[in-house]
């Protein structure tokens, strides 16, 4: 960060920070759902595809004349049902989440493209675009409704994970599924609920995405799944489950966005940016590791 603020004088402006947050919102929201699933020891490769299908449903329904509230409800339903399908397959058939969500990824992606009939759907609806709107704080910092929503969502999820029994069960599940089963936790029900809730969160991500880009494109966010996993892992959540936090994910998502944005603004060519991003991501996690080891 220090480097960026030195090399580019604009980087530390509040204006710019607001921009970085806006750029990271969709991936951060995806990563929020991903965090839940990773905490249970799972992984979700389909999250971005589900979200994109969500945007398609929203946009197409509105384009075809539906009321935007109806469209919103439909979008949330679709995402929730897809989450429930993943959750059901993982829970009932006891399949590895990697396989289930990989299958879902392929299917949902194709479904989105079939549903789109080859075009993308621009939306001008007020409700669907509302998350991209917002006002200025202190006359300078642009705060969108999407940002506020994201803060609320992260806060609620943090609360649910750390302050309710459900959250403890999620962690226990990822920690040691057999121990969780033996202690009499509803293992299946809890795991299923996580996939379902993640589906709903992806619907919010879809809404956020339309706020940022009022155009539903079946080809958008193709790296959204990896990006969200990256944010989760950089945030210190273990892919083996049971260890990590939502706050880590926020930091992880911001780190990636700041890197990208900072490097572009520093005028570095995109390929060199990639090199730098790769190195900096590793460095960030290594630094974190060293700090944590020292603090023990």
């Amino acid at each position: 960060m220090v480097v960026f603020s030195v090399t580019t004088s604009t980087f530390l402006t509040v204006d710019n920070l607001s921009l970085v947050v806006q750029q990271s919102l969709v991936v951060a929201t995806l990563a929020l759902g991903q965090t839940l699933i990773v905490l249970t020891g799972g992984i979700d490769l389909a999250n971005a595809a589900v979200m994109v299908l969500g945007t398609m449903v929203l946009a197409r329904l509105v384009t075809e004349g539906s009321n935007s509230v109806v469209a919103l409800v439909a979008g949330f339903l679709v995402c929730a049902v897809l989450g429930a399908i993943s959750g059901g397959l993982v829970t009932m058939l006891n399949l590895p989440p990697f396989i289930v969500t990989l299958g879902m990824l392929t299917v949902v992606l194709a479904a989105g493209r079939l549903y789109s009939e080859g075009s993308s759907y621009p939306v001008t609806d007020n409700l669907l675009g509302v998350l991209g709107e917002g006002g200025y704080l202190f006359g300078q910092i642009k705060v969108t409704h999407g940002m506020m929503l994201a803060v609320v969502m992260f806060a609620i999820t943090w609360y649910a994970l750390t302050r309710t029994a459900w959250g403890r069960h999620v962690y226990a599940l990822g920690n040691d599924p057999e121990a969780a089963r033996l202690t009499g936790i509803h293992v299946g029900r809890t795991r299923f609920s996580v996939y379902l809730i993640a589906g709903v969160i992806y619907a919010f991500a879809a809404w956020q995405a339309l706020g940022r880009i009022p155009n539903a494109d079946p080809n958008a966010f193709q790296t959204g799944n990896l990006d969200s996993i990256t944010a989760v892992v950089i945030g210190g959540t273990s892919l083996f489950g049971g260890r990590g936090s939502v706050m880590g994910t926020v930091v992880g998502a911001l780190i990636v966005a700041v890197l990208r944005s900072g490097l572009t603004q520093a005028g570095i060519d995109s390929l060199y940016q990639d090199v730098a991003t790769g190195v900096l991501v590793i460095a960030a996690v290594a630094f974190d590791q060293v700090v944590r080891r020292r603090s023990r």
Binding site: A165, R168, A172, N175, A180, L182
Partner: protein
Amino acid sequence: MTTPALQARGLVKRYGRVTAIDGADFDLYAGEVLAVVGDNGAGKSSLIKALSGALIPDEGTILLDGSETHFHSPLDARHAGIETVHQTLALAPAMDIATNLFLGREVRRTGPLGSVFRLLDRGAMREQAQKQLDALGIETVQHIGQLVETLSGGQRQAVAVARAAMFGSRMVIMDEPTAALGVKESRQVLDLIRRIRDRGLPVVLISHDMPQVFEIADRIHVHRLGRRTAVVRPADASMSQVVSLMTGALRPGDPDAPPNLVDVSVR
């Protein structure tokens, strides 16, 4: 004879080539401490896993207060009031002591905070956890917020025992609860078992410690090669007789065997 609180007949569990339970019977009467003894690998843990819903037997029936029951999961058994200390302890390593004690039975705040917002009462849980550990004489836990994975072997076991003691409402099953405990702590667990019995709950105690078994058990269930060979009263038998029964050096029908409380002639 009264109806047993918990009864099993002809339980069988096979894992491929290995037979863990080979037609085992089991009876537990109200208000008694039943010790289950047997060699390593005799199938004691498998038996109590079947009784506590952790394992679904291939054959056989389980009867709770005389009526047939099917446990499909540990949760079913827990709902029936059966609380178990598993040999593997069943603790979540990356969570702290209080969390583990209350896992699946978390205490919520009173009032709308608890009922609407589902807010946990972390303070109360912590406090009770500390009290339970103290009652077991585990005074060396330096910090109640320590993660279970950082506890010593004995401390970990104490957490598992404390949990079962806290929540058992119908019966408590303990699989080698004192194996990793120190002298003083083992004493406390024996006291605890007595107190549970005095509350009227029957206790199943698996143990390899013969003096302990003879001190506390009302009856001793001897397990061998996946099934029950004999049940004896500590007053009727000597430790070496029981050990001989476990290893097969002595058979229940033998002239110098102690009086057997169950009929094994069927097999």
